[in-house]
C-alpha cells in the first residue's frame, strides 16, 4: 500500500518528464511551458517556491515565472531573490545551495534569505544548449551563453537532490527558450522576406516594360539581380520625336540599400532628362542632388546618352564600364569613361562626347556584372570576352544580341553563382527616317551649346508609347533557389523553384508609358 502511495523517485522523475514532453508539444505559449517546468522543479526538490529568471539582451536577469508549491503563480514584482546569490551563480556558472548556516554575510538585509522566512536556496544556471553553441563556430571554446537561472526556495535543507533530473529540467528550459527565440526570429524573417518581395515587385514595376519602337532604331534590355533586389537600373526615355535618352546605372553595393538608390537614380533621370538639357547638364544635376541626399560612401556609375534619329549619340560616361558599338564591319569601338561617378563629388564637372551611329550598328550599354561575371575557376568574363562576343555576333536584331550576351555569360559562368547585378541595354540603329531626321545646322549646334549652361524648361505634355514590344525574357536566380524569367512586353514573370512547381504571376500594373513630348519643340542641342 505504501509503495503505491509513494512512487519511487525514478517513477516520479519519469512522470515529470512525461508531463514536460507533452506540455512542450501541446502547449502553445512560452509561459505555459516554462510554468510546467518550474512546477516540476518544485515538486522534485520539495521547495516552497520556484522562480525562473531569464537573461535579457542587456544581460540582466528578469523574473519570468514565479510559482509556489500549490501551483499558484506569484506576482512577479513581489518575488524576492537574493541578488548576491544570483551574482555568484552567474559568475561561477555552477549550481549553488545556500542554507542559513552558510549564509553570505555580504548579502544586503533585504536580500537575505532569512527575510523570506526560508532556510535554503537552490540556484541552477540554465546554459545554452551545447549543440546550438557548436553550430556557432565564432564562440567555440568560450563559456556557453547563460540563458537564465532556476531559483528555488525551501524552508528546509535540500536533501537527496536528484541532480540529473534537475539538469534535465534546466536543459528543457534552455530548449523551450531557444525554440521560442528561433520561432520569433523565424517570424521576423518571414516579415522581412515579405517586405523584400514587395520591394522587388516595386523595383520591377519601375523598370521599363515597353521600350519605344521607332523606325530608326530598335531597343531592348534586361536586368538580372544578384539578390532579390538589385542596384542596377536602365531606362529609355522619349525626349522628343527625334531624341531618346538612354540610361544604364550601377549603384555601388547590392541588395536593398542599392535598390533604393537605383530607383532614385532612375526617377531623377526620367524627370531631369525630360527638361531638354544636354546630357552633361542632366548628369551634373543628378550628381548634385545625390551628393546632397545620399550617404557619403554611396555613389553610382552610369552611362547616359541621347540618341538622335540621325544616329548622333551624345553621351556621358560617368565612371561606368565602356559602352560598346559594334559596327557593320564587325569592328568594336568603346565609349570610355571620362568623368567621376555621380554622388561622389558635388563640384564634379561632366563632359559629353559625341559619336555617330551608322545604319546597321549595334550599341551595347551594360553594367560591370557582365565583364565581372566569374566562372567556377574565378576567371572573369571580361570586357575582352564581351568584345569577342560582339565581333562574332552573327545576328540581325537587337533581340538576338541581348540573347547572345545572356547566353554567352551563362555559358562562361558554367552555373557559378552570380556575383553582381547585371543590366544590359542594346540598341540596333536602322537608319534615319527622312521625315523626322535632319542634319543639324551649325547655327543650331552653336545655339544649343550656348544654352547648355541654362536649363530650358519647355511645357511637357505626356504621351503614350503605343507600340508594344515583342516578348523577351531575362533570367536570374535568387538566393532561395528561385529562378526568375522576366518577360518584357507581355507582363508576366515565371518563377521556377528547383524541385518545385511553376506558377505564373500576372503582372497587373503594366506601365502605361513614360517619357514626354514637348509642345515647344526645340532642336536637340549640341553638347
Amino acid at each position: 500500500m505504501t509503495l503505491i502511495m509513494v512512487p519511487p523517485p525514478e517513477t516520479q522523475v519519469e512522470h515529470h518528464l512525461g508531463v514536460l514532453a507533452r506540455t512542450c508539444v501541446a502547449r502553445s505559449t512560452l509561459e505555459d511551458a516554462l510554468t510546467t517546468i518550474v512546477d516540476a522543479a518544485i515538486e522534485l526538490t520539495h521547495a516552497q517556491q520556484g522562480v525562473l529568471l531569464l537573461a535579457k539582451s542587456s544581460g540582466k536577469l528578469e523574473v519570468t515565472v514565479a510559482r509556489d508549491a500549490q501551483r499558484v503563480s506569484l506576482p512577479l514584482h513581489q518575488v524576492q531573490t537574493s541578488s548576491a546569490v544570483l551574482r555568484r551563480v552567474m559568475g561561477s556558472r555552477r549550481e549553488l545551495i545556500v542554507t542559513e548556516a552558510e549564509e553570505d554575510s555580504s548579502l544586503a538585509p533585504q536580500a537575505r534569505i532569512g527575510t523570506l522566512g526560508l532556510h535554503s536556496i537552490l540556484v541552477i544556471p540554465v546554459d545554452k544548449l551545447p549543440l546550438a553553441e557548436a553550430l556557432d563556430a565564432t564562440v567555440a571554446g568560450r563559456q556557453s551563453e547563460l540563458l537564465g537561472v532556476l531559483y528555488l526556495d525551501s524552508c528546509w535543507p535540500f536533501f537527496h537532490l536528484d541532480r540529473e533530473a534537475l539538469r534535465m529540467l534546466t536543459r528543457k528550459v534552455a530548449m523551450v527558450v531557444e525554440n521560442a527565440a528561433l520561432f520569433a526570429a523565424l517570424c521576423e524573417k518571414a516579415r522581412l522576406d515579405h517586405e523584400v518581395e514587395i520591394t522587388r515587385q516595386i523595383q520591377r514595376q519601375m523598370q521599363p516594360v515597353q521600350f519605344p519602337r521607332v523606325p530608326e532604331f530598335e531597343v531592348t534590355g534586361f536586368t538580372v539581380e544578384c539578390h532579390a533586389v538589385g542596384g542596377d537600373c536602365l531606362d529609355v526615355v522619349k525626349l522628343s520625336d527625334r531624341c531618346h535618352g538612354l540610361l544604364v546605372g550601377d549603384i555601388a553595393g547590392k541588395g536593398i540599400p542599392a535598390s533604393l538608390l537605383a530607383s532614385l537614380l532612375q526617377g531623377l533621370f526620367v524627370t531631369i532628362g525630360a527638361l531638354d538639357l544636354p546630357p552633361q547638364e542632366v548628369v551634373s544635376r543628378v550628381n548634385r542632388y545625390l551628393c546632397e541626399r545620399s550617404p557619403e560612401d554611396w555613389y553610382a556609375t552610369l552611362f547616359y546618352a541621347i540618341l538622335d534619329s540621325s544616329g548622333r549619340l551624345d553621351y556621358v560616361n560617368a565612371g561606368h564600364v565602356p559602352a560598346l558599338i559594334r559596327r557593320c564591319s564587325g569592328r568594336v569601338e568603346t565609349l570610355e569613361s571620362s568623368n567621376f561617378p555621380v554622388g561622389m563629388f558635388s563640384d564634379a564637372q561632366y563632359t559629353c562626347r559625341t559619336t555617330q551611329i551608322e545604319v546597321g550598328d549595334f550599341l551595347l550599354i551594360y553594367t560591370d556584372g557582365i565583364p565581372e561575371a566569374k566562372n567556377r575557376r574565378s576567371e572573369f568574363f571580361g570586357e575582352a570576352g564581351l568584345r569577342r562576343l560582339l565581333q562574332e555576333f552573327p545576328g540581325q536584331t537587337v533581340d538576338d544580341l541581348a540573347e547572345a550576351v545572356r547566353a554567352g555569360v551563362r555559358a562562361f559562368t558554367e552555373g557559378a553563382p552570380q556575383s553582381d547585378d547585371i543590366a544590359v541595354l542594346a540598341v540596333h540603329y536602322r537608319g534615319a527616317n527622312l521625315s523626322t531626321s535632319s542634319v543639324r545646322p551649325a547655327r543650331a549646334m552653336r545655339a544649343a551649346k550656348a544654352r547648355s549652361k541654362y536649363p530650358l524648361v519647355g511645357r511637357i505634355r505626356p504621351t503614350k508609347l503605343e507600340i508594344p514590344l515583342s516578348k523577351r525574357t531575362d533570367h536570374g536566380t535568387h538566393n532561395d533557389g528561385t529562378r526568375i524569367e522576366r518577360h518584357y512586353g507581355c507582363g508576366h514573370e515565371r518563377r521556377d523553384r528547383v524541385g518545385g512547381g511553376k506558377q505564373r504571376v500576372p503582372r497587373e500594373d503594366q506601365r502605361a508609358a513614360h517619357g514626354g513630348e514637348k509642345e515647344d519643340r526645340l532642336e536637340r542641342g549640341e553638347c
Binding site: 560612401d297 555613389y299 569613361s337
Partner: protein, 82 residues
C-alpha cells in the same frame, strides 16, 4: 597637402576592388582631407588601377609605385613647405 597625419595605403596585394570598396576608399579620402590628413596609395596595379582609372579617381588620389616612394613624397612636401 602635407597634413598633420600621413597615411600610406599599400595595396600591393589587392588585385581586385568592387564598387563598395571604392566607396569606402573615397569616404576615407574625404575623411582624411576633412581632418587635415593626407592619404596616399602605393602599388596600385591590375584591376584596382583600372577601376580608379575608369572612375577618374587616379586624378584624385596620390599614387606611387612603391611604399618607399609614397613615404618619401611626404618628406619632399615637408621640405617644399619649409
Amino acid at each position: 597637402m602635407a597634413g598633420k597625419k600621413k597615411i600610406v595605403l599599400n595595396v600591393a596585394n589587392v588585385n581586385y576592388i568592387d564598387s563598395t570598396g571604392v566607396g569606402v576608399l573615397v569616404a576615407c579620402f574625404n575623411s582624411a582631407r576633412s581632418h587635415d590628413a593626407a592619404l596616399k596609395l602605393a602599388n596600385v596595379w591590375s584591376r584596382f588601377r583600372e577601376v580608379l582609372q575608369m572612375t577618374r579617381l587616379l586624378t584624385v588620389f596620390d599614387t606611387y609605385d612603391s611604399e618607399a616612394a609614397a613615404i618619401q613624397s611626404f618628406a619632399k612636401s615637408l621640405r617644399a613647405a619649409g
